[in-house]
């Protein structure tokens, strides 16, 4: 496994210039994710129009994998329905943990995260934002949810 496979250009680019980064006011859902192992902390805020994610932004601090994953995630789920986004969450989870990688077409740019699988200590960095998003989407009243922890 080469380092370049973990830190692909897409990852480096999204770390350098995270998309949809910053506050979103007002938001229909706002959930904080925290990885106590490394101190990574991010907040995902989104707006829902009916069942569709009409806008999503994140802010916080984390490593390149965590930042790039969150940035890629916001791009990928904007405009998707709640159900579509949750399905994508399952696919990404599979991508990060299973040997049988899901279809690259389905993942689009998110396939850049596939290198993380070879670095078990870093899987949580990539998945934190997704768990945070799923928590927001799965609840009818997501603003009442407690913060998400990877532990």
């Amino acid at each position: 496994m080469e380092l370049n496979d973990l830190y692909r250009d897409v990852i480096l680019d999204h770390n350098r210039r995270p998309r949809n980064f910053g506050a979103l006011q007002p938001a229909d859902a706002s959930v904080e994710g925290f990885n106590p192992m490394c101190g990574d902390r991010l907040t995902v805020r989104l707006r829902l129009a009916d069942e569709t994610i009409s806008d999503i932004r994140f802010e916080g601090q984390g490593c390149a994998i965590s930042t790039a994953s969150a940035s890629l995630m916001t791009e990928a789920v904007k405009g998707k329905t709640r159900a579509q986004a949750l399905k994508l969450f399952d696919r990404v989870h599979q991508l990060l943990t299973d040997d049988a990688a899901p279809d690259a077409d389905e993942l689009g740019k998110l396939a850049a995260l596939s290198g993380v699988r070879e670095y078990p200590a870093r899987v949580k960095c990539a998945s934190l934002c997704w768990h945070t998003l799923a928590s927001a989407l799965r609840s009818t009243h997501p603003q009442d949810l407690p913060a998400v922890s990877t532990e």
Partner: protein, 416 residues
Amino acid sequence: MNNMALVDRPTGFDVHALRREFPVLARTVRGKPLAYLDNGASAQRPLAVIDAVDDYERRHHANIHRGVHTLSQEATALYETARDRLVRFINARSRHEVIFVRGTTEAINLVAQSYARPLLGPGDEILITHLEHHANIVPWQMVCEQTGATLVVAPMDSRGEVHADAVAALMSPRTRLFACAHVSNALGTVLPIRRLIAAAKARGITTLIDGAQAVPHMHVDVQELGCDFYAFSGHKMFGPTGVGVLYGREQLLERMPPWQGGGEMILSVTFAKTTYNGLPNKFEAGTPNISGGIGLGAAADFLMGMDRGAAHAHETALLDHATAVLSRIPDLRIVGTAADKASLVSFAVAGVHPHDLGTILDEDGIAIRTGHHCAMPVMEFFNLPATARASFAFYNTFEEIDRLAAGVERALKLFA
């Protein structure tokens, strides 16, 4: 001519000979020679420790203190000999003052629950400092919750130094216990514990020193320090995990109730009344980590057999070298710049998160620690979520530090 032997005595420190005592240092990681710079988290074991544990496991294992058969007697003798070695290692007055525990964390919890909890009440204060490891914060917070006492935190400055005057200013008639690190795990600061202990003693305040990061780096003499309690872990001083020592002044330990109940800590048990065993067994309920204790005794022997002055000089040279080469890297900031430091360097690199740095360095076979180092209040003080920490032992080399610096440069290039 009379002084020639003294003058000519070799002062060189043969790090390569020493490295051969530590088998793991010869391995490769990801195809590169291992550069193990995470000694602050856990140090590696010399053959002396590995062999002592191996010999016990192969030839002598049985439960201790209770069998009349040969193996039990041999195991007991080995375990208690290990205790004797630790008595010498820290210059305790007697075997009654060396309690085997699981590690520093358990030692501090023992004092919190067995010494502090029965003593404290509302209005009383426990004094600690800002740079403590969570293990020297949380047990006191728990005791404060249980008793209504208050936790008071003495400040550190922007270099990560704790000043004895500032701490002493917070010692009051309400202060019942003062606990602090000997060496900061997150910053490397060596605290002025002689002055701190003297200030506490002058006011009748009981003292506990968290020595987890000190014993691997310097000779510790608890009688000379004059502290009431001193806690340390086996695995940070080249011994096994899951074993450590609580030193306590016998007078205090005698007065303390047992912490945990069970076998080993009793003299007699009826359903009406149990009579507790004497020191040190009173605090060692249950079958202990026998092989760990024996390994820790071997580690203490190993350290006592070394020229620790020369080892310390080598470590200081490593620290100076690391500070110099890392300081030359633009965008790198050393966190913790105390005048008196143990040989570790905590740092942050602008634009490179410590976890990414840790992964990139591992690719080069270099092991460092990244994260908050179980010292979140320290990270908050420096306004950092995490740092990278390279912590050295006497077996590290200048070349390993050069590789570290080159790795950091490589990471900077990748993220530029």
